[in-house]
């Protein structure tokens, strides 16, 4: 493997996994849809029709929004909340936005710091929050996509059942939208809580997500 590829290995691996999982979701999703439609004597979808359908879009978007919400909350809550013993937490006495010196901004910036970290004003403010803002924007867009595609998919089912479609306001109050939302959120929150707590007592040698194997359970904010 070339140096260039090796240095991007983590990104490449997850992008490949993402594509493989999306392909798997599309293939099994169209098969599942056609199984149900065929049983009811309704038209079947081609793979292309399925991947551009509201049924596929809502299933993708509901998972995406919850992942980005998880990251958003994690990024923001770990600024102020700490967890004794967890490598996911900052040291107990460093809660908050931290000093300019520690954050290496303004006059404390290094020569190779990002350009907007060296200046004061709106650019520094924006850059200082760019990760959370971006994650938050993607979360909201994904959630909006879930809402739009979810209504369309729900209304297609309503029509198949000889029921009237729902308007935007009706769908916003419908159990379908919120059930899709909450069932994804709960799993994300469980996963974060598990990682925070389990990483206090368990180790994965060599992983930056774990404390060093010999590090005491009480050490906080130490990564391997």
């Amino acid at each position: 493997m070339s140096k260039g590829l090796r240095e991007q290995g983590l990104t490449i691996a997850f992008v490949v996994l993402l594509i493989a999982a999306l392909v798997g979701q599309a293939l099994t999703g169209v098969a599942f849809y056609n199984e149900q439609a065929g049983d009811s004597g309704l038209p079947l979808m081609s793979l292309l029709q399925y991947v551009t359908s509201s049924q596929f879009a809502v299933d993708v978007a509901e998972n995406w929004q919850s992942e980005y919400l998880q990251f958003l909350l994690y990024i923001l809550l770990t600024v102020w909340l700490v967890q004794k013993g967890s490598p996911e937490s900052k040291p107990l006495d460093q809660a908050g936005r931290e000093s300019d010196e520690k954050q290496k901004v303004g006059s404390h910036a290094q020569e190779d710091s990002p350009a907007w970290a060296k200046v004061r004003g709106w650019r520094l403010q924006l850059f200082s929050r760019s990760l959370g803002l971006t994650m938050g924007a993607i979360f909201l867009l994904s959630w909006l996509a879930q809402f739009i595609a979810g209504r369309s998919a729900y209304n297609a089912d309503q029509i198949k059942d000889l029921k009237a479609p729902l308007g935007w306001g009706e769908y916003l109050a419908a159990p379908d939208f919120w059930n899709r939302t909450f069932q994804n959120w709960q799993s994300e929150f469980l996963a974060v809580a598990s990682m925070v707590v389990l990483s206090i007592y368990l180790r994965e040698r060599g992983s930056p997500e774990s404390k060093p194997v010999g590090q005491p359970h009480t050490s906080t904010g130490v990564e391997g």
Partner: protein, 149 residues
């Protein structure tokens, strides 16, 4: 779960581009899927089939039978006999002008002044899955004179 708040490594450009492409694909998909709204070609096509069926059901039942979804026609023939005769005897209402058309992917509902029809998009075009439908209680299925099994 991969909850990383740290920006220990600069995100790879390839990752950013892939993310942007993914979001664009999702946005396009939603636009195609969720916004099959007013004035679309499929709305016009569904409207056309519904009005043609409504007229033919009164004047030329045998051609109206050609616009029924396969399962709906089969159910009609199983329960009432040959399609054209059964359709004539079904006493579908004079439909009147179209009030509203809603299309969601392969499914559509057409509200006419005196009838509501449900349609599905087959390879051969829009076909009527249920006709002569009137609403019952809220969020309950419509009561239909003709429908599939």
């Amino acid at each position: 779960m991969t909850s990383r708040g740290r920006s220990r490594h600069t995100p790879a450009v390839t990752g950013t581009r892939t993310l942007a492409a993914g979001l664009a694909a999702l946005g396009l998909s939603v636009a195609l899927a969720g916004c099959s709204g007013a004035g679309s070609a499929q709305e016009n096509a569904a409207r056309q089939v519904a009005t043609t069926f409504a007229d033919a059901a009164q004047e030329d039942p045998s051609s109206a039978c050609g616009l029924l979804a396969p399962d709906t026609r089969e159910e009609l023939e199983d329960t009432s006999g040959p399609c054209a005769e059964s359709l004539a005897e079904a006493g579908l209402p004079q439909a009147g002008p179209v009030l509203d058309v809603e299309v969601y992917g392969l499914d559509a509902m057409v509200r006419l002044e005196d009838d509501t029809m449900f349609l599905a998009l087959f390879d051969t075009g829009w076909r009527v899955t249920a006709a002569g439908c009137t609403p019952e209680e809220p969020d309950r299925p419509y009561s239909c004179d003709i429908k599939g099994a």
